[in-house]
Symmetry: C2
């Protein structure tokens, strides 16, 4: 690898000057790369001479591969078998009321593949026959409805990319650095394109009575998940969705119907949606009283904490994705806000003493994951990596210390504090907290 | 179902007035819906009384389902088993040099799930070990490069949603209405978010010599696919991509590396990319001489027809997705242009005599699929459905007749003519041509 070099000017985007240094670093990396692999010897010899021949002919270039529709529905390469959702066995008593985490450290861009989107179930995965499924809308309405999937698909459709975050995401970290990897500290989130009918259209169809103020969506799973949703959100941007990333919802995500409440805590996005009751006051269900509330220092409980505050995490490098050698390094991460679009992300390499503006790349959308990058030349010194999100409301992601000072030590939900990764000279990375 | 009604004013978006008629139509549809399904009887009884109980308790609500990570990498519901890529057996002699088609009629939004993106192979699917794979850049460069995947991931990354269309998409239709379904007439296209390094960065790293004018990308598959790419495109928006929709490319899409040339014909997006030679003139390979050229009426051949012209197709209703009954109907489709963003889409219900503006919904991005809708109240009369795309350059999608007049009858590639679906009173739909 290349020799240690002074860190490039971090104030701006990668400059031609720093990029050329990148080149040198890669020159070294190429040497190292060619030093490994089956045909490295000949490759190393071939490249400098720039022969008009491939460096060698590997097996897969010598024989025909499988034909089309050998996999009518495709799947990843066998070499990507470790890119999966994972759970934490000690976290819950049963996998039927538990969570699995999105492998954020192994993903790029802002779209989460459906097969890798985190799961949170309270009664296991309901396997619903869509032909037998109905959505009932009743209560304070003029005309109760019993809708089939086909009925619902006759309403005008909308498409929206939105993140879905569990209110308990990063919850373990309230008590300090607990879990060693962003998959586990921040992986209760995903971002996809949903397609469905605006809930407003269905409620107009049923005809809301003048005293209609709250909704009670209910799931068809064994837990019959219920939450109280204020009518204002239902009439704003709520969607009854049947597709994500173009195809039908997967069973673990609520097939055939789920509620989508952009920017709000995932527990309210009722899966396997079978019923919406319209009422005039909240129902104070289990999921909004004994759960999904926060006991404050004064003994009072915060409740109805619906919107997810601005948050970010560095996905690479991170404990599950260490740095392999000095030189030019791509720092990458995700930022999001339940209150609007991300305005900017700042990155620190020294535990929050100095901040530099990250580069946002790809679509920057309202209430969606936003990808950020910060490229730098690592000289092998220890680093304390942090990211800090800012949203269009002016809100700035707080430190964990500031959150604890305000909320006390009894919280489980809504930890959007700044995360710190400690990079060791070896390139290995630890989950730590800085005073 | 509802009685036939006069068609709503088609000039604008769905009005409150027409939506209320929708309501009536759905009222009818609800009756029909409740008339089917296991618990329909009780459901029909329960709904009007608006009991605060679900209409019944199906099996999946009575027992716990599978737990988290029962599928560490998820897959669709067993009830979606018919949502797959399909091929046409008579089209090619071997499935190892053939095509499978995206099920456009079963998809929503603009993102294609990786497992459903169409395939076109010339030597089957190369199953490449990424640790053994290299990308060589040589020829008219100052410093030939031999890059590992790890090297490539040390370059700054970009994320971009782009459509990929085979130049032969709709090619069978040149000779008239041949294939009965948009999966087969238009399914050689998909749209995903790619992540990778701009090719410009890699060429800067190698250092282009002053006479560098063309590139020859080569695949590592048994066909060793090669195409000549002008340096202007390589330095503009070309990407060497390793991820689509957030995860590694699937093997059938070029794992671990493919070339991305936004807006240009798919044959040039070399998969399993192993080598890029830099030269001063095109190589006139098989894929740009005997193939992917067009014999014009005067005996001359059109070649280097890189950009895909503006095009659209109605995906629903369509031959594989008939209309189930009269009443409010959602017409949905996709539009795209290789020359920029879609400016608008017009829809005709009468074979092109009258046109109405469709509603675009979801992101409208440069060189990406764009979703359009036109909602109307179907009274059971026969229809001739057409869509016509317009892009930001002012280009308007032509009729097939106009294309044939200009290109003659020897063409296979670049058929972007207006497609016609004939809706029968039964709701069934045929692929037809109108004079």
């Amino acid at each position: 690898m290349s020799e240690p070099k002074p860190r490039p000017d971090p104030s701006g985007p990668t400059s031609r000057r720093s990029f050329l240094r990148t080149g040198l670093a890669l020159g070294g990396a190429v040497g190292a790369g060619v030093g490994t692999g089956a045909f490295a010897g000949r490759a190393a010899a071939a490249a400098p001479e720039a022969k008009n021949l491939p460096p060698n002919v590997p097996e897969w270039s010598q024989s025909l591969g499988d034909g089309v529709v050998s996999r009518p529905y495709g799947r990843p390469s066998k070499f990507e078998a470790d890119v999966i959702r994972r759970d934490v066995e000690w976290l819950t008593a049963s996998r039927q009321s538990s969570v699995s985490f999105t492998p954020l450290h192994q993903l790029e861009g802002i779209i989460t593949p459906n097969g890798l989107g985190f799961e949170r179930h309270h009664g296991g995965i309901a396997e619903i026959d869509p032909a037998e499924h109905r959505l009932m809308i009743h209560g304070l309405v003029e005309k109760p409805l019993m809708l089939t999937l086909e009925d619902i698909k006759r309403f005008p459709r909308v498409n929206r990319i939105a993140f879905l975050e569990c209110a308990a995401n990063s919850g373990m970290e309230w008590k300090g650095a607990q879990l060693n990897g962003c998959q586990f500290t921040h992986g209760m989130i995903h971002c996809v394109m949903y397609t469905g009918v605006p809930l407003k259209r269905l409620l107009e169809e049923a005809g809301l009575k003048t005293n209609a103020k709250w909704l009670l969506p209910e799931g068809a799973d064994a837990a019959a998940m219920t939450r109280s949703v204020p009518i204002e959100k239902a009439l704003d941007d709520a969607i009854v969705a049947y597709a994500m990333n173009g195809e039908a919802l997967y069973p673990e995500h609520g097939y055939p119907l789920r509620l989508v409440l952009p920017g709000w805590q995932g527990n309210m996005w009722v899966k396997w949606l079978r019923r919406i009751k319209v009422g005039d006051e909240p129902w104070h269900t289990r999921e909004e009283t004994s759960k999904y509330t926060a006991l404050m220092p004064d003994g009072q409980a915060r409740r109805f904490t619906w919107a997810m505050d601005a948050k970010s995490v560095i996905t690479n490098p991170s404990p599950q994705a260490p740095i392999h050698g000095k030189g030019f390094t791509v720092l990458s991460g995700l930022a999001w806000s339940g209150r609007g679009a991300i305005k900017g992300v700042d990155v620190s390499l020294d535990g929050g003493r100095n901040w530099r503006a990250a580069r946002l790349d790809g679509p920057v959308l309202d209430k969606a994951l936003t990808r950020f990058y910060y490229e730098f030349d690592w000289n092998g010194e220890p680093l304390l990596l942090q990211s800090r999100a800012r949203d269009e409301t002016g809100y700035v992601q707080p430190t964990k210390a500031a959150l604890r000072q305000h909320r006390g030590l009894n919280s489980i939900y809504h930890n959007n504090g700044i995360q710190t990764w400690h990079v060791l000279p070896s390139g290995e990375i630890e989950n730590v907290e800085v005073a």
